[in-house]
Amino acid sequence: MTNGNGRYEAMKKLLRIDHPVFWMLIAFCCWIFSFSEFLGSYRTLVSDALSYYEHIKFFVLNLSKGVYPLWDPFWYHGASNDFFLRRIGAFNPFYLLIILFNSIGIPYIYSYLWFLALYYFLGMTGFYLLAMRIFNDRLIAYGGFLILLFSALGTRLFDAYMMLITIPLIWFFYFLVAFSQTPRKHLFLGLSLSAMILLGTYIPFYFLWIMILFSFCFGIFFFKEIPGVLKRWVGFFKTHKILCAGCVLVLMLSCLPIVLFYGHSTQGNVVLPLRQGKANEALTVPLETLNWGVVEDFMFSGYFSNLRQYKFAIVYIPFFAIVVFGLGLLGRITRRAAFLFFYGFLFVCLTIPHGLPFYSFLYKHVYILKFFRNLHFFIWFILIPLFVVLVLEHWHIFEELRKDERSKKYCLGIIGVIHLAAIIFITVRGDAIFSTYVMLLLSAIFWVGRVLNWFAPRWAFALLTLTVLIQPLEVYHHFTINAAPFKGYETYFYPFDKVRFNDEFRLPPSYTEPAKSALYYASGPYNFLNQNVSGYILSHYLQNKFLLVDHVEKVDSKAVDVERLNQIMKDQANVAFVFDPKQTLTQFKSNDPHSPSKAIGIGKELSWFKIPTFNANHLRLVVDIPYEKFLVYNDSYDPLWKATVNGSKVNIYQTNEGFKGIWLPAGHSTVDFSYGTAGQYVLNIFLSLAAFVLLVSIIIYALI
């Protein structure tokens, strides 16, 4: 009871006007107000955000129906879904929020958008806690929270997927710092969970590169502290052996899906032609495609710095941060400031593919650099949060200076110079918005007040909130009117439990052969068809999801007669090309005495051809045919597919280069196609459960 009362009192304290939690909630409400048109779905998601929205939808809606979708039958006529699961970080337990919202009747689009907002707030809260750990000052930590919350990171929820990495990364660093300071169970579990989410993405190399450089810089600047930190870690490991072993095991297992996916792609079962280019290895990216680095993104943002024209992908941090940065420039350097600057600066220098020689050198010699191409993503993953921490360090430096009674005049002088310089700078540039001037006025009052101790904590929080927010509120107003309105379009609008027969091809009347373009991601066999069969022929061929043929022709997978393949697809000939590397095919002709010249195309359910069960990983057909036939299922071939006919296992043949084919006996048959191995399901479900258990454990241990 006492404990309960104590917790109640603590909660009440959190919501007092002089506590940052109260102001954090106010700031978050202002953020929601700024982005209300996006969160209310009046403005559309664009670019990567749209595809992530769709893939997460596909994942969570399947999950809510008890299906762990390892295959996506709707992506270019079927492809392994492993890639998209890795892209979205499928072990992230916070996706359960979407299912929760959806299950209480909130439409998916709002469930998803509100999840994004809450997830973002969670990340910013992590940043506040990190700043508290580093600076041990509520006002500074709250300032950092405000600056980061209203930085351009928030805009990228709606056009990119950065937050799915940035937020676990912020929490990872919080847990890392906190655990290094005070090793406790919930901090270690948090470290494991955030690392697990980061390592489970399809490109864990961004995270690994961040950690390699961090460790290097930390080693240079805090070499003496390392033994102390290690001692604390080892002490914890010794006393919590089972917990540590369990977490390490989960971490190692969380890397396994991406390793398996890598293996699957090296066998050519899945390909990423657009990304891979002419690179030899699967999943690698050639150096020529690395044409947009960190500095180019900054330059682009600089070219279009008129905030009235603010739009997606322009780097923006509330101008108040620049003022604070300026205030600390004339202060005395600290080891922490040197470390933070050096780390960020090194990062920038090592991620410039053109103009500096370092990146191309590292690309040749550091293996992991061959696996990621969008170097400018580092701005959003690490450089913006890092810059905000550096700004807070400058704030800290200035605070130290102002606490010295002898330096008060010096501090006031610095405030005057910095604010004057800022006014001149923005006036000379000629594209300032009105709120920037107001912010500078408020900022001057805030800092003079700090130096002369004018404000009680509650007023300091209030004025800081107003000062930081005034500019971004105007910027995001412009941002909203610059963004495209929502049109309701999405690829995954159809139900996932129905086979799509031919509704994806609506050829315009004047349809002509389209130019061949590299696909982003597809099954290897389908990619071959896309490159070698006329788009017009392929589109018409795929009008029928299923074909029944009487003749089967064995072909060599290494010497495909492309011209003939085009011809039989065009004519819908009563023959199928089959690869049979294991030499198991013994039957080449059906017993139908009235064999037609064309294959029987099935573009919808028929009385003798029913589909009683369908989901991402499984298809059940009930077929009643008078003669035996070879069934071509125009869904991509993958060796992980298995089939049974009336309960007996049958071989699936790679048919017509890209699809699946099996022999069907005459009469009534039940055919089951299912994807994936038991091991794959067990691993994925185990890791998802493990992540959920970790999250619950963190909360419980943190509250104890």
Partner: protein, 262 residues
């Protein structure tokens, strides 16, 4: 010495030192060239311009038009690969601000870089007509009509400057459905060209243009009006009657024509 120590201890000194260490390795031109590269994929103008211009929502605000000009000046400055389209957009806004001469100059510059796009010719034709420079109007409008419509249609989704205009209306719509706006633009060009030729008393060419227009499928009374006017020639009472009857309607139609980029 203490002063030196005080200065050397400042944060900005350390930062500058880091930057100076790297400067000798930096090939700024290479970096700059790369940032201006063709790979640029986010050059689309802000949506508020597009809504304003492409979808004709609300009145033209001079404030926003000036912003749009500023934006496209930046595009021209930093992304030379998109110069023709950015110049045309700048010209379009300048024309809406009422600065016809300046707009015409910009259209000329745009056409000198890319002469395959229908709309700058069309706009330059309208501006010349409004200035009563009928000879130039004939030149621009004839060039507009000589353009292959497919080249104009294909430029829209390919151009970084125009692609959002094209996509924002309806992302999944096929490009062929945009042909009506182009068709309407071509019809307007014929009408203006015929009017210029009528004013210049070039009846032979007027008849030929009217017949070409009819062959292209514009079989309405405006075309027959000009064809009849061409065949009747000067000082013909029937021509005067015809002008009295249909002239004001066509004049009104011409008055309502305006510059467009899409």
């Amino acid at each position: 010495m203490p002063l030196f120590k005080t200065i050397i201890n400042r944060t900005f000194v350390f930062y500058l030192a880091c930057i100076f260490v790297v400067l000798p390795f930096l090939d700024y031109n290479k970096l700059y060239r790369n940032a201006l590269g063709e790979t640029m994929s986010r050059l689309t103008p802000p949506m508020n311009y597009l809504r304003l211009f492409a979808f004709k929502q609300g009145p033209y605000s001079p404030y926003r038009l000036r912003d749009c000009i500023y934006y496209h000046k930046k595009v021209i400055e930093y992304f030379p690969y998109q110069k023709a389209e950015a110049l045309a957009m700048q010209a379009y806004c300048t024309a809406l601000l009422g600065k016809s001469n300046e707009a015409l100059d910009l259209y000329k510059q745009s056409l000198a870089i890319n002469g395959d796009y229908f709309w700058p010719y069309y706009d330059a034709g309208i501006l010349s007509y409004q200035k009563r420079d009928y000879a130039s109007a004939v030149k621009y409008l004839s060039s507009a009509l000589e353009q292959n419509p497919l080249k104009t249609l294909y430029l829209l989704p390919r151009s970084k400057v125009y692609s959002d205009v094209y996509l924002s209306d309806n992302e999944y719509i096929v490009q062929f459905q945009y042909a009506p706006s182009l068709k309407n633009g071509r019809r307007n060009s014929y009408v203006l060209l015929m009017d210029c030729l009528l004013k210049a008393h070039d009846y032979q060419r007027l008849l030929s243009v009217a017949m070409t227009g009819v062959k292209e499928g514009f079989e309405d009374e405006t075309f027959y009006y000009y064809a009849r006017m061409a065949s009747l020639g000067d000082n013909n009472p029937e021509a005067m009657m015809l002008q009295q009857k249909l002239g004001p309607k066509i004049e009104q139609e011409i008055k309502e024509m305006r510059v467009q980029f899409f």
